[in-house]
């Protein structure tokens, strides 16, 4: 193995409280350019909260997040997007009454990506949205809305991409196709964090996983090793990793 | 082709031919607005109903005498509902002038709904018959196109109240006065006038409480308690009918005995207040004595008893209140009738001349019609009176000031 490149994102002791409930209780991890990192763990372990804090939806209550050496905790979403961070949503959130093309156009116009952003046509083509480009997003099916979410995120030219349960609801052919796309994005140098329940998909694409429980990381390494660690097995209780 | 052109030419000629001045029109068009709903409905409907009543009465007689044509001409009343909405009112005033081409323009009641008409009438050089819009800003020397028909302008109306307190008050033992008013143009201006009259009189009376409250105020319990704390000998309350109702009810309910208490609508809309406040709450309250109680010598139109009888016959369901506003609407009608009988043409400036020529001459059931040079009403003044229960427990008016019209002595303190 080559020596690890310098991480693009570092989270150190990240804390997020909701009232008295600690959704994140001191989470520490990092991800490097070109790497695909999986965040796994049972429901309520804080995976989505971690993504929400990194993408600026919530301000952290403690700890630090640095992106390319710069502290970004508490910055608003659009500033983070301009720095090069973007994401998709578990439940896709397109601009429903706008057309697919307009959805992407907003991100192209306001994303201010440092790198040359992909073109509208290439995004429509590569993410199989060309046929529906002029339809309002509310006419799309769930899978199309998810890919639109992804295409919109890519239009801002991110260097760190956070994918929240992108695979759920995709059929096997679509899964393979999506895995291929994600891997090729990583090959281009993009750092990618994947939150996922489908372990097969995780195994297929990630270089490394962080297993989370109760707002903390309990394991870091490859999935193959993780499934042999008793603590991890206990957390999942023979649950989802068997899937 | 030529034939058609000739026909068009002939038609053009016919249109261009002026109507002979002596030809009487089929009807005289009077345009007005009313508010059937919203904030001003309760003051607008009685005024408008009275005007309508007059129109029906005159038309049954074959119309009104119009001097310009030297014969009776039926009246057509063109009336729109502005719903207390001023933007709508302005459109409708304009509609009356430009589309319906009314001969006479009559405003809706109250200052707020009269306001849009002032500028529009002036712009179109239409003389505005202002019924009860007492706003001081309406009347200026550079605007000849307005005159106030029924209410006295707010700046002089409360003079008898202030004069009584400053002339007769000290002898009765009135030294401290409380002034409470609603902060709108109508009652705010009257409050300013009262304050000014009292200060300028130099009489040994003092205003110990002087507060404005929002016009929307409908409970006075706390304010009454605050006034009581100042121990005034006389309390002047200036507000609209709902304010008076709430104030007088609260005074009664709290069980406070003010020695001397004035309210505008106790006199102007006595029947309405009696229904809402009760006889007990109105006893010995001082108020303006309305024309309906004075039986002014009338030289034109119905006398008060006839008018009241006709009103009750026409509106038996009691949905429109008989009172000061009803009299105001009828007074406007009488001024219009008299104006038409003296104006030599229907030219707007001639109408103005005719209206002003009535000043000091016309005596209606509302008193003597008198205008100042800007068109403000300075006649039709209401004396100060007191509501005193008679042996049957009914309220009757006793005029107490000015002395020349007084019908009795004031009861002080209020029992």
């Amino acid at each position: 193995m080559s020596p690890e490149p310098t991480p693009i994102l570092r989270a150190e002791g990240l804390v997020k409280r909701f009232g008295g409930f600690y959704a994140l209780g001191g989470l520490t991890f990092h991800v490097a350019p070109g790497e695909i990192l999986g965040l796994v763990g049972p429901n309520g372990s804080g995976k989505t909260t971690a993504i929400n804090v990194i993408s600026g939806l919530y301000a952290p209550d403690g700890g630090s997040v640095t992106f390319e050496g710069r502290a970004i905790g508490g910055l608003s979403s659009h500033r983070l997007v301009h720095l090069g961070i973007n994401r998709t949503f578990q439940v896709p959130k397109p601009f429903l009454s706008l057309t697919v093309r307009q959805n992407i156009e907003v991100a192209l116009a306001y994303g201010r990506s440092a790198a040359a952003p992909p073109s509208m046509e290439s995004l429509l083509e590569e993410y199989r949205l060309a046929d529906v480009a002029d339809r309002p997003a509310q006419d799309l099916n769930n899978v199309q809305q998810k890919t639109l979410d992804l295409a919109r995120a890519l239009a801002t030219g991110p260097r760190l991409l956070l994918l929240d349960e992108l695979a759920a609801g995709l059929n096997p052919t679509e899964l393979d196709w999506m895995a291929g796309r994600i891997k090729s994005l990583a090959r281009s140098g993009m750092a990618i964090i994947v939150v996922e329940h489908l372990m097969g998909f995780i195994e297929q694409i990630t270089d490394r996983v962080i297993v989370m429980n109760a707002g903390k990381e309990i394991f870091e390494g490859t999935l193959a090793v993780a499934v042999k660690v008793p603590e991890v097995i206990e957390v999942f209780l023979g649950g989802e990793h068997a899937a | 082709m030529i034939g058609r052109m000739a026909a068009a030419f002939a038609a053009g000629l016919m249109l261009a031919t002026p109507v002979l001045a002596a030809d009487p029109p089929a009807e005289i068009k009077i345009g007005t607005l009313y508010a059937s709903s919203g904030r001003y409905a309760s003051i607008s409907m009685p005024v408008h109903s009275a005007l309508k009543l007059w129109v029906e009465q005159k038309n049954a007689e074959g119309g009104v005498y119009v001097k310009a044509f030297d014969k009776k001409v039926p009246i057509k009343l063109v009336a729109y509902d502005d719903q207390s909405n001023t933007a709508t009112a302005s459109t409708l005033y304009n509609q009356l002038i430009t589309q319906d081409k009314v001969d006479l323009l009559v405003a809706d009641s109250g200052s707020v709904l009269t306001a849009p008409a002032v500028a529009i009438a002036r712009d179109h050089k239409m003389f505005l018959f202002d019924q009860t819009g007492t706003g001081a800003s309406f009347f200026s020397k550079d605007n000849p196109y307005i005159a106030l028909m029924a209410d006295p302008v707010s700046t002089i109306w409360p003079k008898p109240v202030a004069d009584f307190l400053t002339h007769d008050g000290p002898a009765l033992g009135i030294k401290k006065i409380a002034l409470l008013y609603s902060t709108n143009e109508f009652t705010g201006t009257q409050a300013n006038a009262v304050r000014k009259f009292i200060k300028e009189s130099g009489a040994p009376v003092e205003i110990v409480y002087d507060q404005g409250v929002p016009t929307e105020t409908t409970n006075y319990t706390v304010i009454i308690n605050n006034i009581r704390a100042k121990k005034p000998d006389a309390v002047i309350h200036l507000g609209y009918a709902p304010n008076d109702i709430a104030f007088l009810r609260n005074v009664n309910e709290v069980g406070v005995k003010f020695k001397w208490m004035f309210s505008i609508y106790a006199g102007l809309e006595t029947e309405l207040l009696e229904k809402n406040v009760g006889v007990k709450g109105l006893q010995y309250v001082y108020t303006y004595v309305p024309p309906s109680e004075l039986d002014y010598p009338v030289n034109f139109g119905m006398k008060m008893p006839e008018f009241r009888a006709l009103w009750n016959k026409t509106f038996p369901d009691g949905k429109v209140e008989f009172g000061f506003n009803a009299v105001a609407g009828y007074t406007t009608a009488l001024v219009i009738e008299k104006t038409l009988s003296v104006a030599t043409s229907l030219d707007q400036m001639e109408l103005r001349r005719a209206v002003f020529s009535l000043s000091g001459q016309l005596k209606t059931l509302d008193g003597t019609f008198a205008l100042d040079e800007t068109g403000g009403q300075i006649g039709e003044l209401t004396p100060l009176g007191q509501l005193v229960p008679n042996e049957h427990g009914h309220l009757k008016f006793v005029a107490v000031y000015p002395h020349e019209v007084a019908t009795g002595k004031p009861v002080y303190p209020r029992p």
Partner: protein, 306 residues
């Protein structure tokens, strides 16, 4: 003066709790902004005036009558309006306009039927049936003012405040001690999830709508005493004040509305005492401040920030 203002504010405020509580229920359960709320108050007042004038009965008898009539009216209106409204893209916004239209219709029909004059009921009639009880308990004059803390207040205020407390108590019992009430609270806190868990949201909503209008009408019965008189145009101001009270407390919490009413009443009376000409500004300024500084209301937890 201060004590007087405080006690008057309390009585006045308790009544305003009743004025606002129906609105709270309807908005909390259905996210419908009932801009016709004040008009139902006005209709309740006309029922009271009718009961007093036609049947010569104590206006207190109008309370159950107004409640029952308007619960039924509410159920019918719910069937006619709400399902269609909920089917639209943005029911919360559209409800504002729909119910504005309804308030216009109500005002117009009332004007056509009753005219525009002020109407009221003699204060001594309210609670006349309780007069023997009152003389027995407090002594004194049966139709004079009541004495509280050595100061006299209108008896009608005390009666209105008492009925308000009872009504709010009954709403509390409904919400916390009955099955339908428990479901109502569930719908208030999580409408989406309530659908998912199989609660008959439609039935819960219809009941809340009916009860909401019923409570508005009950509050209206006392309006002639609290506001001096009513006209068909009375509804508009009442609606805005109700909103101030509801937002002051918090949505979906009847005790919150009670607190909101009292806070409103006392601050109103204090402003009237010391800065009377500015008293009108108060409900609006309070409403805006509360929304901005404590968006969830005095007792609320729910977040309403965009």
């Amino acid at each position: 003066m201060l004590v007087y203002a405080l006690v008057a504010g309390l009585l006045f405020g308790l009544y305003f709790s009743l004025v606002g509580i129906g609105l709270n229920l309807v908005f909390g359960v259905m996210r419908i902004v009932n801009l016709a709320h004040g008009d139902f108050l006005m209709l309740g007042a006309f029922i009271a005036v009718g009961v007093s004038a036609l049947a010569a009965l104590d206006p207190l008898f109008a309370v159950p009558l107004a409640f029952v009539v308007f619960v039924l009216v509410g159920l019918v209106l719910y069937r006619l309006l709400v399902p269609r409204l909920q089917g639209s893209v943005n029911p919360e916004m559209l409800s504002i306009i729909l119910f504005f239209g309804l308030s216009q219709v109500i005002e117009a029909l009332t004007t056509i039927a009753f005219g525009t004059s002020e109407r009221s009921i003699d204060s001594s009639e309210l609670g006349a049936i309780l007069a023997p009880l009152r003389t027995a308990l407090f002594g004194g004059d049966a139709d004079g003012p009541v004495e509280l803390f050595g100061q006299s207040f209108p008896a009608s205020w005390a009666i209105s405040a008492t009925v308000s407390v009872i009504a709010i108590g009954l709403v509390y019992v409904y919400l916390y001690r009955t099955r339908l009430g428990t479901l109502t609270r569930a719908v208030m806190s999580r409408r989406d999830e309530a659908f998912a868990t199989g609660i008959n949201v439609d039935r819960v909503s219809a009941a809340a709508f009916g009860i909401g209008l019923g409570l508005a009408a009950v509050a209206g019965v006392f309006a002639p005493f609290m506001f001096g008189s009513v006209t068909p145009a009375f509804g508009e101001d009442a609606t805005v004040t109700s909103f101030a009270v509801v937002v002051l407390g918090s949505l979906g919490n009847p005790l919150g509305t009670a607190l909101g009413g009292v806070v409103y009443g006392i601050s109103y009376m204090l402003v009237q005492t010391y800065l009377s000409s500015w008293a009108d500004l108060l409900p609006y300024v309070l409403l805006i401040l509360i929304l901005l500084l404590r968006p969830s209301g005095l007792l609320g937890r729910r977040v309403r920030v965009a």
